[in-house]
Symmetry: C2
Subunit: 368 residues, 2 copies
Amino acid sequence: MRNDSRLKHVQYYERRQSRVARKLGRSKFDTLLITQLADIRYLCGFTGSSAVLVLTRDDAAFFTDGRYSEQAHTEVVGAANVIIEGNPLRRALQWSQESKARCLGLDFAHISVSLFQQVQQQFGGRVKLEDCSGMVQSFRMIKDEQEITRIRGAVKLGAELFSTALESIRPGVPESRVAAEMEYEARRRGGEGMSFETIVAGGTRSALPHGRASHARLPRRGFVVLDFGVILTGYCSDMTRTVHLGKTDARERRMYDAVLRAQLAAIGKVRPGVGVSVVDAAARETLDRAGFGQFFTHSTGHGMGLEVHEPPRIAGKQRQKLQPGMVITVEPGVYIPGEGGVRIEDMVLVTDSGCEVLTPTTKKLITI
Amino acid sequence: MRNDSRLKHVQYYERRQSRVARKLGRSKFDTLLITQLADIRYLCGFTGSSAVLVLTRDDAAFFTDGRYSEQAHTEVVGAANVIIEGNPLRRALQWSQESKARCLGLDFAHISVSLFQQVQQQFGGRVKLEDCSGMVQSFRMIKDEQEITRIRGAVKLGAELFSTALESIRPGVPESRVAAEMEYEARRRGGEGMSFETIVAGGTRSALPHGRASHARLPRRGFVVLDFGVILTGYCSDMTRTVHLGKTDARERRMYDAVLRAQLAAIGKVRPGVGVSVVDAAARETLDRAGFGQFFTHSTGHGMGLEVHEPPRIAGKQRQKLQPGMVITVEPGVYIPGEGGVRIEDMVLVTDSGCEVLTPTTKKLITI
């Protein structure tokens, strides 16, 4: 990295840490024990698989084990103390004790009961342990410029794989072969991996909302649902397109049109200040009116970033309001058991005045 | 599946469940709430990503959500009750209450504090909640015939990828390109995915014990560590070979020989009744004597199966004794920062009288 881009890189992490520190200053916590890897990566840039980050109102310490010594020194930003010895959790607790923690925030949604008991035991009641789940995630929900740039990169790479898929889809080809071609292309183009198990589900299997690519062969005719994403510079993409093998019949065209209209209706609602349930309802009502409502069996979307599922959930009972900088998926679907299914999914950035659909790919029904 | 093989398939799961039920009969628990997906797959064959399995001494109930309706009906074996509606955890707790649970076992190592609090709240103190972590895992540690067959399949497929790697390794090729070729081949040959992020680490990067394939290009000379595995029929493989680009020097040959001798010494100890620490010590002492002991910075191995890391850990402080049916890795390594590293890893099955090295690949140093 050149010096100026390195500086900018460091500033993003420092800004994220200082935002959390300010929030800490206004909370009951004096110390946060951060154990979820995506939170750690967000706050200090470390990409390894074993670490604990401790934040206080004016200090930060990072802990990992011997395997990650070199990597920690290269990657970790903004933690004055980088400690690489022994068990990271035990050392992090010691450090918190020495820095006089009194009320320690732990992410109850991501820490196991066993680990919690270990922490309790080490502190022996001298430190209050309270739930801070959602705290770092609430910052992660609003993406900064660096994150949006990275997400755009992941979305672009992901979208390129749709062309790869189209080249290999034909009757008789195993679903897993289509996935293989897509994943190979992702890697060749620099992807770090897929953001979830690639879904290629043809014929009646398209009616399985989670029909990951199987050894089943694509049929002569019917829908093929393709749901896939890549990880690039740590950030995930996620998109779904449904294509059709052979000629469509009238009912299939009605299904596809209904899903597409539902997706567009939902996207049409995305802007700052709107509740996520309004977005969900727009998709659901469109499908209801088209007579397919009962076959839309999941929520309309989810936030994305370092993880493929992040807050907010775009669902009926959620109260979250959309804010600029959120990146969400909008992905209604219709699944008729024994028959077939259609899902269409884009990634959408909430902007200051509305939204921007990040996924560049056509949604016109492609028949092969 | 033909009828007789279907029957055999069902029997494996029923046998696993009845073993756990018998253990339940001798324990303080009357009910187990199983939330870890690998445990659920082991006991009833379900491969989806959202489920809860409840076992009592004489009954079993399986819970998932609407997305997995078809899949649950096809896959789940041995649970008389398959319930697909609402939130699986909430429904599972209701069912436990209705079946008069008094002491409920929960896997504290795999359940979050939030989830635990939710369970506490729903039961309001009327049911005792205790830790059953390790209980299903202790059965999973000893593989049955079906599992060993599946593991052999995964190991074979994994080993085939080494040839693919050899074809693409040459100076100037990005590490990620080598990984891409291997992963593509895995998919083409029916693999469901890789069992962990493929490691291809060349030159000084070979000194990173977790140097997953990066965009760095392979150097003109130096070691290349390849650590990779596939998932096939749910089971994981894991192997490491280290090759050399260009001519080796005397020190490099000493390093490689020392690691190979350490690995063989460790394998030489594997038989029923031997403590895992003895296996670890054999590798460590060999490297100590060769003067490389300080550069062996991780444990010697781990169990494998539905997950790539399972009990037992093959490490100095562990007390577990080896038993027939265990499948472990033996993978000592030497990592000299700024210089290079070597690791050699096989999968090993503990047999009645000793062990069988499952990985079929040569360990002679290959120079390219």
